[in-house]
């Protein structure tokens, strides 16, 4: 019987204290695993979505809100901006590319985004089936949308007013699916893309049919169709005059690095709109989340530390009871090294089991959290293995060795003649 089996048997003979130690370590490791996975995934999502966007121009309000609504599609937009003013900025010499966004409707909670071909080239989108939208009310849907809503090319659906909820459905026009996007790993997976005119027209018709109830119409801040009364006269075939049209925001790519210094000031000082930098706002957002992550991290480290002490106390106490046993093993021919191994193996087995269970638990819990998340854009997955988890594994091993080394050295150095003569 080797030293490993002896250690294993010894642990099994005191299941309660072994289980307690394993639980403590599993709990600490589990929290660290969740933090590691979640913060990595959130960070990646943030980067992935704002990769090529230098600036977002939208209505005045919270810059963070503007970024969240126009890049991550989570918060409500800050309001609308006049199309004319937006187009002026889009044609500014500082700007290489400007992507218009018109938000305001959803289909089963999925945002319908009115935009143009610049959006496609900005995110380097490709279709996996069908083609990009061309005519009004044609849509190209994200890969996740196709999956979750079970939509195929040629399917039709109605959009609903607002960014969530389907109580107020635009029955006047039907959207058609003309294409499905390849999986992108960013917010576009969960969007329905169409042209800006479709979003406008949808609301023109909508308003026409509902003229009487106009006053009751609940316009949430920032939805794209806070129309002027003038809209009512211009509908059907011809697009109305530019002056009355509005957008939610503009995604801007700079022409040169010089624009960084000039363009945001130009927007903020000379227009009634605001410019927000995704990089700055993401950093701010992450530092806000970071406080919570740091706190949890210290909490987990504290638990791991307590676990280490608990394993140490457990081994140390059992060694006191067992030093006669260990002395007997020496008289039976076991070497000092063997006793050292037996004790250290006990510590390592405890922490290793705890670490593995903890990592597995962390993944499961995160997957559970992810599957219960409402917002598809920031969905977390537990079934991702990170290279960094090897550090958790090493840390668990380290704690085992750390907790076991003092008892193990004591076992190694024990004076068996003294122990045996004490009886």
């Amino acid at each position: 019987m080797g030293p490993l089996k002896i250690s294993w048997k010894s642990l099994r003979s005191k299941p309660l204290s072994s289980a307690l130690n394993i639980m403590l370590i599993a709990f600490g490791t589990g929290i660290l695993t969740i933090l590691l996975l979640a913060s990595r995934q959130i960070g990646e999502k943030l980067d992935n979505n704002s990769k090529d966007i230098d600036l977002v121009v939208g209505a005045k309000g919270s810059p963070l809100q503007l970024i969240l609504s126009s890049i991550y599609y989570i918060d409500f937009p800050t309001g609308n901006i006049p199309l004319k003013a937006a187009m002026e900025l889009a044609h500014s010499p500082f700007v290489k590319r400007a992507v218009p966004l018109a938000l305001g409707d959803n289909y089963n909670g999925i945002r319908i985004v009115g935009t143009d071909s610049n959006f496609v080239s900005l995110y380097k989108l490709k279709t996996s089936a069908g083609k990009f939208w061309q005519k009004d009310f044609e849509t190209t849907i994200g890969s996740a949308v196709a999956k979750t809503q079970n939509l195929k090319i040629g399917d039709t659906f109605y959009g609903a007013h607002g960014l969530t909820g389907s109580s107020d459905i635009h029955k006047s026009h039907q959207y058609t699916v003309s294409g499905i996007l390849e999986h992108q790993g960013n917010a576009t997976d969960n969007l329905i893309l169409t042209n800006v005119a479709s979003v406008w027209k949808m609301h023109d018709e909508h308003e026409d049919h509902k003229t009487e109830s106009h006053e009751d119409h609940d316009h949430k801040a920032g939805e794209a169709h806070q129309h002027n009364e003038a809209d009512h006269h211009d509908h059907e075939d011809t697009l109305p005059a530019d002056e009355s049209r509005e957008l939610t925001s503009l995604l801007i790519q700079y022409r040169s690095p010089m624009s960084v210094a000039m363009f945001p000031r130009l927007v903020n000082e000379t227009t009634n709109m605001q410019a927000a930098s995704p990089a700055q706002e993401s950093t701010r957002l992450f530092s806000l989340i970071g406080v919570g992550v740091d706190t949890l991290q210290w909490f987990a480290i504290l638990i791991m530390f307590i676990a280490a002490i608990s394993v140490f106390v457990n081994l140390y106490n059992s060694l006191k009871e067992r030093n006669y046993d260990l002395a007997i093993m020496r008289t039976l021919g076991a070497s000092r090294t063997k006793l050292f191994l037996i004790v250290i193996a006990e510590g390592i087995m405890l922490t290793l089991a705890g670490t593995l269970i903890g990592i597995a638990l962390g993944h499961l819990v995160l997957e559970f959290i992810g599957s219960n998340q409402e917002s598809g854009q920031a969905q977390l997955s537990g079934f991702v293995l990170l290279y960094d988890e090897i550090y958790l594994f090493v840390a668990g091993l380290g704690i085992g060795i750390f907790a076991a080394v003092i008892p193990a050295v004591q076992a190694y150095q024990s004076n068996i003649s003294k122990i045996l003569s004490k009886n």
């Binding site: 019987m1 080797g2 002896i6 048997k9 010894s10 099994r12 003979s13 006669y324 046993d325 007997i328 093993m329 020496r330 008289t331 039976l332 021919g333 076991a334 070497s335 000092r336 090294t337 063997k338 068996i416 003649s417 045996l420 003569s421 009886n423």
Partner: protein, 212 residues
């Protein structure tokens, strides 16, 4: 076969003790007599390689055991010396058979379940093979500790106060088993005791006396 030459030990308290030379022949059965505190356990520990004497030499079939390295000495003890203590001290987390099996593997001998069965049967406790130590009575446990001591067929079997915690009936039984097992395994037997009940069974006696 076993000779102890001019052994002495220095206790941490300050006083020293010297032991008269002792020659033990193969197959002998010896009684080591002495009141408690006379150095019995010290002498046994020196004899079994557990305690290195300050001076002197212990030679077991030609090997001066304290000239071996610590690891070699542990292995030598495991293979050639079986020790029975006053209390059995079996490993609680292991079954009786496993307790015997570790004695084999610690001595770097192959695990041999046939030998385990044979020894347990000869001691009348074969049915306890898969029991744990806390399921056995004190007398049964002492038998297991005898089984553990003889499992590797040692040339020297040493018992330190094997009867002092047992009643008359069990004491006699254990003594008989010790003598029987040492004969069965061709082992030299040394029993250390202050128990008067044991004296009559032995012809060879080494009495501890205070030397200068």
């Amino acid at each position: 076969m076993i000779s102890l030459k001019s052994l002495s030990h220095h206790y941490p308290g300050g006083h020293s003790i010297s032991f008269k030379d002792w020659q033990i022949n193969k197959g002998d059965q010896w009684l080591l007599l002495g009141e408690s505190g006379s150095g019995k356990t010290t002498l046994l520990h020196m004899l079994t390689g557990i305690l290195k004497p300050e001076k002197g030499d212990v030679i077991i079939s030609g090997t001066s055991i304290y000239s071996l390295s610590a690891k070699e000495l542990d292995q030598f003890r495991g293979r050639n010396i079986g020790i029975i203590f006053q209390r059995p001290h079996l490993i609680k987390s292991l079954t009786i058979a496993e307790n015997l099996s570790i004695a084999q593997t610690f001595a770097k001998l192959p695990a041999d379940s046939k030998r385990i069965n044979e020894v347990l049967t000869s001691l009348g406790i074969a049915d306890k093979k898969n029991a744990y130590p806390n399921e056995l009575s004190q007398g049964q446990l002492q038998r297991v500790s005898i089984a553990r001591a003889v499992i590797n067929k040692p040339m020297l079997l040493i018992a330190d106060e094997p009867t002092s915690s047992l009643d008359d009936k069990n004491a006699t039984a254990v003594l008989e088993l010790l003598i029987q097992q040492s004969q069965m395994n061709n082992a030299t037997l040394v029993v250390a005791t202050h128990d008067k009940r044991v004296k009559d069974a032995f012809t060879n006696t080494y009495e501890l006396s205070w030397a200068h």
